[in-house]
Amino acid sequence: MNLERLATTWALFQALLVEAMPFLLIGVAISSLARWLSPGGAWVRKLPANPLLGPLTGAALGFALPACECGNVPVARRLLASGAPLATALGFLFAAPVLNPIVLASTWAAFPDQPWLLAARPLGALVIALALATLLGRLPEARLLTPALLEERRLSQPLSRVSLLERRSGLIGGGSAPEPPALPPRRPPLAEVLGHGSTEFLDLALLLVLGCAIAALVQTAVPRAWLLAVGGAPTLSIFSLMLLSLVVSVCSSVDAFLALGFAAQVTPGALLAFLLLGPVMDLKLVGLFGVLFQPRAILLTAVAAGLVVLLIGQWVNLVLL
């Protein structure tokens, strides 16, 4: 790479970074506010476990806790650790990165002249979340979740649902003694919320830096001819844009702006595939998913998400081309 191209890559990196950072700040601020306003989290155990209603409720939570996908992982982990039904937590994890006001607003800002995309993106995200929540929900929790998360989750679940051996705590021979009343939730002091929020923002800012660096490199390194060559081919264009979304790893709050750069060159199905797959699975998320899922479950998630996105993209191309 010559110096000129390096300077251009650096400028693209900065453009992505200064554009995305305020969105990241807004996401972390709202999630910190939610943590402060609703401490404890006993309510999460009352969320629906129904295979259809659960993911839909989780997806709807995106409107209350808007963040991009990297911000959603720690929130989803907290939901699972607090004993939330799997269907709801997975629905939130996979759909909320798209179904939240910030991402919908940025999609609208980037594509105000393509109303079909504004409807197709949230609908597609719902379909993916339902499919993934149904598939992963069929796995035993011990094969799905990491041991540390599973242990934390079982501690939050009542003894009527998990055994003492599974929970690794409690009294043997204690009969059916009533469980001690739960302590009333304590609202954390603002200083603590600020400390958590700051740490979360700084962790995510580093991931954002890495994502922007990869995106800037891809923008300058991938020859235009590469995209143009497959841009018009319905299936191949979907595959190439899915691959791009995996590699680029840009947050869902800014990916619509990135997609603008090649929107005119690819099929509508490929454009939608880019906007749908990135928030569910990308190279940056594989590392983050490690705090939630077992490696095989991550692989299963990637394959299933890719398949559903491919089908949606094909259907869109069939209708619009």
């Binding site: 992505l16 700040l25 980037a110 400390g195 700084l202 800012a205 300058t220 235009r224």
Partner: protein, 227 residues
């Protein structure tokens, strides 16, 4: 614990300074469309305020950083310092070489300024909606832009259109009849051209081309991106 709070404050403060410095120094004009600038200003101010609060409250907070988090935070601080110290200096010609040269939006103009007052972008939009070169022959032209090499053709005078940031920049250019006997300007060179619109034969048809009578190098404008 207090050191962790100071480190968090440093990280927040540095990112706040990055955003504010980008806005104050005019970097944003090169990176982002103006409509997004208030977000960056606001983000920078909020981050600085959070850094001050973090510094004040760190003794009361109980959020201790894990060693891995501390290393990540230091890495983030280093990235922020790098962004502060190394301003963006993109090559518009290099950037354009990797982009689609199609207009993103509708090419039609809602109104047309007199020829001498049209910008390069307005000329491109007009020529897309009224491509017949005979309609524009002899019209005075006064435009500025950067020199964009075009494979298989003479270099054009071009501008970058953006809807959000430099990442979605799309080049639009006008062909120029560069004066014979003079070296063709280098790629990325910013020029102001005065002349008239003419036509030339190109790929089995006619196309409009700028015939300059005056050509002078200019520095890159403060706001080089066009909406």
């Amino acid at each position: 614990m207090k050191r962790d709070g100071a480190l968090r404050a440093l990280g927040l403060g540095l990112w706040g300074v990055v955003l504010l410095q980008s806005a104050v120094s005019g970097r944003l004009d090169l990176l982002l469309r103006a409509v997004f600038h208030p977000l960056v200003w606001g983000g920078g101010l909020v981050l600085l305020a959070l850094a001050a609060l973090e510094l004040r409250w760190s003794a009361r907070a109980n959020g201790r950083l894990a060693p891995r988090q501390r290393a990540g935070l230091l890495l983030g601080c280093a990235a922020a310092v790098a962004v502060l110290l190394l301003p963006p200096r993109p090559s518009f010609a290099d950037l354009s070489a990797n982009r689609s040269r199609e207009l993103l939006e509708e090419p039609a103009l809602n109104f047309v300024l007199p020829p001498g007052q049209r910008s390069l972008t307005e000329w491109v939009r007009l020529l897309r909606s009224e491509p017949d070169p005979k309609l524009h022959n002899g019209d005075p032209v006064r435009i500025s832009g950067f020199v964009l090499p075009v494979p298989g053709d003479r270099p054009q005078l071009a501008r970058l259109l953006v809807r959000c940031c430099l990442v979605d920049a799309t080049p639009v250019g006008l062909p120029v009849l560069w004066p014979a006997g003079q070296p063709v300007p280098k790629a990325d060179q910013w020029l102001e051209l005065r002349g008239v619109m003419a036509s030339e034969r190109f790929e089995d048809g006619l196309r409009s081309v700028v015939k300059p009578t005056l050509m002078r190098p200019i520095p890159r404008p403060e706001r080089p991106l066009e909406p």
